[in-house]
């Protein structure tokens, strides 16, 4: 078998194998590239609510929680709470929290929801599972190297690495170098 045919077979089959992970890493790459603009894992929405204020500063944390959930007619189960100052209590539910100022009756509500699919891609991309996933990701990286090298030699002629391929390859290598010269 000619070596170029072997290169094509390797590129084709590893290309199929790498498809899923490439999409995952690319989608997550875009998502985590913009962490200064958004949270790539969650949609966090905020709301303001109002309950009748109280001046009773002797309320315990449990009494404050009861006062808030009664006045809001809240049905969700409280998982925990925190009294951050004599008149302010944080109440936590599954995926939701209230910061209630009993003196003013103002409540800041925060709802946290998963960014479907993107959160899962980030979980894998940032190697949150660790352990065996580390080796899967390493294998994927090796496959990517293999794909890029075999990609250079798949075809010959004007459109191959000796033709316009060499200019595109040089351009691809120069882009990160230029950015490194400017920013590093």
């Amino acid at each position: 078998m000619k070596w170029r045919k072997v290169v094509r077979i390797l590129h084709r089959d590893f290309g199929y194998l790498a498809f899923g992970l490439t999409i995952i890493y690319a989608v997550s790459g875009i998502a985590v590239n913009h962490t200064s603009d958004w949270n790539p894992n969650y949609v966090i929405s905020r709301d303001s609510l109002k309950i009748p204020p109280t001046r009773d500063s002797s309320l315990s944390k449990e009494e404050m929680v009861a006062y808030v959930i009664t006045n809001l007619n809240e049905k969700d189960s409280v998982i925990s709470s925190f009294k951050s100052s004599p008149m302010v209590v944080d109440i936590f539910f599954d995926g939701k929290s209230y910061k209630a100022d009993l003196k003013t009756g103002r409540i800041k509500a925060e709802i946290v929801e998963d960014r479907a699919v993107i959160r899962q891609t980030n979980y894998l991309h940032l190697n949150a599972p660790k352990k065996i996933w580390t080796y899967v990701a390493d294998a994927f990286a090796v496959i990517l190297i293999l794909l890029s090298v075999t990609g250079l030699f798949m075809i010959k002629g004007k459109k191959g690495i000796t033709g316009r391929g060499k200019w595109l390859t040089v351009l691809g290598v120069l882009i990160p170098i230029i950015f490194l010269i400017i920013y590093f």
Binding site: T35, F92, K130
Partner: protein
């Protein structure tokens, strides 16, 4: 070929499930077994400065964008301590609020810029201008800030190494 691919996938899934940790552990494994109360750290911070501790408490706040810090409630009302981690090394989930976290890390202190007397951005400039001769009410404020410069208010945090969020 189909059979081989199926066996490979089944094997991969099986091994992954065996080793999966549920995604509730963050960073390195916890090595300490004895927890220190947050109130104890906050009452005697100098004693713990630079020391490794294990704390446990409710997560009352999380860094919204990068998950690079969490605030853990103390065992007493009004008390909490911030756990800061290196960006990207550990990413705390935004839905950790209200859950119980066990965190191992090293206590360290910082002097917040706004409380660092007249030093730092803004403060230094403001006092510098006033000291050029303007003896006004503002100058008195500046003098107050100079006093603060001598006794800056340190804030104690924990540099998180590992955590488990239940």
């Amino acid at each position: 070929m189909k059979k081989t691919a199926f066996i490979f996938l089944a094997l991969l899934l099986g091994v992954s499930l065996t080793f999966a940790d549920g995604g509730k552990k963050y960073g390195k494994d916890l090595t300490l077994t004895k927890t220190t109360k947050v109130s104890e750290i906050l009452e005697n911070p100098e004693q713990y400065d630079g020391k490794k501790v294990l704390i446990e408490g409710t997560v009352v706040n999380v860094c919204k964008k990068a998950g690079c810090w969490i605030e853990i409630a103390g065992d007493k009302d009004y008390e909490s301590i911030t756990v800061k981690v290196n960006d990207g090394e550990i990413v705390f989930p935004a839905d950790a609020k209200g859950k119980t976290a066990v965190v191992e890390g090293e206590v360290f202190s910082v002097v917040p810029k706004s409380e660092a007397g007249c030093k730092g951005e803004g403060g230094d400039k403001e006092c510098g201008d006033k000291e050029k001769g303007e003896k006004s009410e503002n100058h008195e404020n500046c003098k107050d800030k100079q006093v603060k410069k001598e006794t800056p208010q340190k804030k104690y945090l924990i540099k998180g190494i590992g955590a488990v969020i239940k």
